[in-house]
Symmetry: C2
Subunit: 213 residues, 2 copies
């Protein structure tokens, strides 16, 4: 089973602290995400800076785009993003419009989406989905459980490359053992560690231990 | 019936062109929206500039927030926004968290929301909703029709203050005659006009003609 990617989410409220953190772990992780909070605060400048620092890495702009797919995706692509996220509530025309502008599009699953909708995304050529524990749901005491794993597996069986995110740490990864997750996304799981580079490497080591090289 | 508000959506990809347009019509309209495209491109700087130019106006940050409600809403409030939008797919904990940080919160209706969800938003104390024709749906040839008006009326009957947006022009307003719409939102309906100030005043005049002062 292929080693899942490790993605760092830069969900900072200002550019300097995001750049400090990405400098420490950017070479260790596989995918760099300019998070929603960061892009809303700093605009496309945040994407441009991360692209300039890491010309070879895959960069995701986590816009959670809901409308105006052509403009939003065109703008983030121009700033240097490879991938972009859309919210599951976006219409198919919005998703299709956005997909034309970026190398790959990811559907963010929040709230009450259905497998029928998911099939429509696949039919529209969009085969990346992001399965969340919402940060606010985590604050409200919810955790990863069997019902999450069942949904993740079902999406993978349907043909999605699935990213998983929300309150992940190195110890949580083994919950997903045996499931061909495409990418694990973490922010503070790495950036809030005493030694972020060591934390990022610990994630990668655990991914290799569980899924192989 | 109270005159609906007129809201200008600044959906520009760069700050200078947004500021040029808002300068022309900001005194005429009732509410200034820093649009999603603009805030993703320019960050909170866009909110700060509009606030500095219009200290007395109501300003909406159209973030379409889906997660991290406390941080996103706290950030836009700090930049000077009065109101913020959340996407309908956001969870109730996210909406409640965001609502604490701003003067008012608006739920953006995209995709397949339900009236049961809408009741949950009301129960959570959130009574503003934005009914859209998605820009991409408009590009795909969809237009305002009886099914839209029925949904808008139902939301108002439930207790929502409803904003209406998507491809509106002065001639479209009469479709809504007799419905106590809270706010009409337009971007290019004003900014793309040969004389934006005149276009904004024409909107206001038509609102007064149809709904009274």
């Amino acid at each position: 089973m292929a080693k899942p990617n490790l993605q760092i989410a830069l969900d900072h409220s200002d550019l300097p602290s995001a750049l400090k953190d990405v400098k420490n772990v950017g070479d260790i992780v596989d995918i760099l995400e300019v998070g929603t909070i960061l892009v809303l605060q700093e605009g496309d400048q945040a994407i441009k800076c991360v692209r300039a620092m890491y010309p070879e890495k895959t960069i995701v702009a986590d816009t959670k785009c809901a409308d105006a797919g052509t403009t939003v995706a065109g703008n983030v692509a121009k700033a240097g993003a490879d991938w972009m996220t859309v919210i599951c509530a976006a219409t198919i025309p919005t998703m299709k419009a956005a997909a034309k502008e970026v190398k790959d599009l990811q559907v963010e699953l929040y709230g009450e989406w259905t497998y029928d909708q998911a099939q429509e995304w696949l039919d529209a050529g969009i085969d990346q989905a992001i399965y969340h524990q919402s940060r606010d749901a985590l604050f409200a005491g919810e955790t990863w459980g069997e019902k999450d794993l069942t949904k993740v597996k079902k999406l993978i069986d349907m043909g999605f490359r699935v990213s998983v995110t929300g309150g992940l740490d190195v110890d949580t990864l083994k919950l997903f053992e045996g499931i061909p997750v495409y990418t694990f996304i973490t922010g503070r799981g790495i950036t809030a560690a005493e030694n972020p580079a060591k934390a990022a490497q610990a994630f990668q080591d655990e991914l290799i231990r569980l899924w192989g090289e």
